[in-house]
């Protein structure tokens, strides 16, 4: 059974005014439990609106979101509980830290869930260790942490709610390659241990290519495609037409194919690309 399902979603900003804009237009899809799904699309394609619909921050004008078989808006007064189940890490989450200590900040979400102190303590420590914060860092002010650590603390605050679905909106924006890789590997570790469902919104095609099982491509408020990563990126030209790019290594394979070399266009990493070229030299030499 799918964990989350969108049925004919439609969402319009500022309806009835001159600023009226349809941000989400008849979008349907299903995501299976335990999947790691990448969400890509150009700026203004509706990605951020879509993820806000999925955790009930926005209410669709039409259509339904089914979480674990239930319409999330069935009981509008209970929508807060949905946000514990679908945890959302916003862009630049470090700007949302506010408590006196890192510990209290991470404990804020689980506290709101009405858990007892013992459980909260356990969750705070687990979440902190998942994101790579040390025990002694829990007692300092979040504002004393470095930029990358602040961001990890903010993510820990969401992980501590132990959501069934974790949504991350551009979690690596502004980080350098080192910080980016460190953060993503934490998220992957967490995903592997908890087997929860992750939706990762990103502009970095290289990251999405490396991590996601499937990719949801948004364009102008519509679902452009939802398919396995290899299949999505093998459509390089189509992605370029909607303002997206494929990883450079994939682009190289596509260009080789256009030159009449039967290169595998589902290549997403340099390692894989290297092996592919080595194989091709084998066939070329008739070895």
């Amino acid at each position: 059974m799918s964990i989350i399902k969108a049925e004919n979603l439609r969402f319009v900003y500022s309806p009835g005014t001159s600023f009226e804009k349809t941000a989400i237009d008849d979008v349907s899809f299903e995501i299976e439990e335990g999947e790691f799904v990448g969400v890509i699309g150009h700026t203004g394609s509706g990605k951020s609106t879509l993820v806000q619909l999925l955790n009930g921050l926005l209410r669709p004008d039409e259509g339904r979101i089914i979480l674990n078989g239930k319409d999330i808006w069935e009981k509008p007064k209970k929508i807060r509980e949905i946000r514990f189940k679908v945890g959302m890490v916003f862009q630049y989450p470090e700007y949302q830290l506010f408590e006196e200590t890192v510990y209290k900040d991470i404990a804020y979400g689980p506290g709101n869930m009405g858990l007892d102190n013992e459980e909260i303590d356990k969750r705070v420590r687990e979440a902190a260790s998942f994101v790579g914060l040390r025990d002694d860092q829990l007692e300092v002010s979040p504002f004393e942490l470095s930029g990358g650590e602040k961001r990890r603390a903010a993510i820990a605050g969401v992980i501590a709610m132990d959501p069934d679905v974790l949504i991350l909106d551009e979690p690596t924006a502004g980080l350098d390659p080192l910080g980016r890789d460190a953060l993503l590997s934490r998220i992957v570790d967490y995903h592997n241990v908890r087997k929860n469902t992750v939706l990762l919104v990103s502009h970095s095609m290289e990251d999405i290519a490396r991590l996601a099982d499937r990719i949801l491509v948004m364009s102008h408020g519509k679902k452009y495609m939802l398919d396995d990563s290899e299949k999505v990126f093998s459509k390089g030209r189509e992605l370029e037409e909607i303002g997206l790019r494929v990883p450079q290594i994939t682009k190289i394979m596509l260009m080789l194919k256009e030159r009449g070399i039967s290169a595998d266009t589902s290549v997403l990493t340099v390692e894989h690309g290297f092996n592919e070229i080595v194989n091709l030299t084998g066939t070329a030499k008739g070895v």
Partner: protein, 282 residues
């Protein structure tokens, strides 16, 4: 080429008041020159000192020791600070933090107004600047309705309108989507090639650095390596040792060459890489 900026043995640390002699230096002994009309890319990871250095070029930060001289003006010379800042404009990472007005053209005019330029002259400069970044048709729009790439181009237009000789851009594309990134990078290369503006681009993206005339890689407050993109990116093992990326095209060819395949020493673009592979596979 005429020398425009010279950096002589510059040291800088953030906590200068601290008695702690072990406080780390963000810049430790930087020497470099940047020529007039050059397009220089400075790469390095967080904490390498590249942004700290960028903020020295127009005197936002002053060296603890050593000197930076921009077109004859020492950045420590308080009396000529205003003149210095009209020569060197700075564009930052987050476009939302750089936009001050409610209408695009007013935002672009902001810097000029501060310089006390007559209104008719401002009008001309704003129009030209907006055309240079290809945003003229948006001049009466509200900036908050624009995409990230468009906002960043507005921020660049505001700098161009002040007619600086040099623009320093501190990770201007870090927050943009691929299309926005392309827009900003092609704007930057146009400013350099068509208007002759000296460009110093601080970036994480090696694909952007390969477009420059010269790449300077920094690590731990020092210059690790400096040279043409081809010279720098042929040092794949050195760069990897310092945990710096190279473009995927460069990496692929490097790995093939390391395994004895007959490919060039260094490629920088997808096109060069494909040519090399086609030759290899024929």
């Amino acid at each position: 080429m005429k020398e425009f900026i010279s950096v002589n043995n510059v040291y800088f640390k953030y906590d200068q008041e601290s008695d702690d002699v072990k406080a780390p230096y963000a810049l430790s002994g930087i020497n470099m020159t940047i020529n007039k009309g050059e397009f220089v890319a400075i790469v390095g990871h967080n904490g390498s000192g590249k942004s700290t250095l960028a903020k020295h070029f127009n005197s936002l930060y002053l060296p603890e020791s050593g000197d930076i001289v921009v077109d004859g003006i020492n950045t420590k010379d308080d009396d000529r600070l205003f003149e210095l800042r009209t020569k060197v404009g700075l564009v930052l990472q987050n476009p939302d933090n750089q936009i001050v007005a409610g209408v695009v053209e007013e935002d672009v005019a902001f810097g000029c107004e501060n310089l006390g330029i007559p209104p008719e002259e401002i009008r001309k400069r704003v129009d030209n600047a907006l055309r240079a970044v290809d945003m003229y048709e948006y001049r009466l729009h509200s900036p908050d309705k624009l995409s990230g790439g468009q906002k960043q181009r507005i921020a660049i237009a505001g700098i161009i309108a002040m007619e600086p000789e040099c623009i320093v851009l501190d990770e201007p594309t870090a927050m943009l989507d691929p299309q926005g990134r392309d827009e900003v990078i092609s704007t930057i290369t146009d400013l350099n090639k068509k208007m002759g503006i000296t460009i110093i681009l601080i970036t994480h993206y090696m694909e952007e650095a390969v477009l420059s005339d010269r790449v300077i890689a920094m690590d731990s407050g020092k210059v690790l390596i400096s040279g043409t993109p081809r010279e720098v990116f042929s040092q794949v093992s050195l760069l990897k040792q310092h945990r710096l990326d190279v473009p995927q095209a460069t990496d692929l060819i490097y790995r093939l060459r390391s395994c004895g395949y007959d490919v060039p020493e260094c490629v920088l673009s997808e096109e060069e890489c494909v040519e090399a592979l086609v030759r290899l596979l024929k």
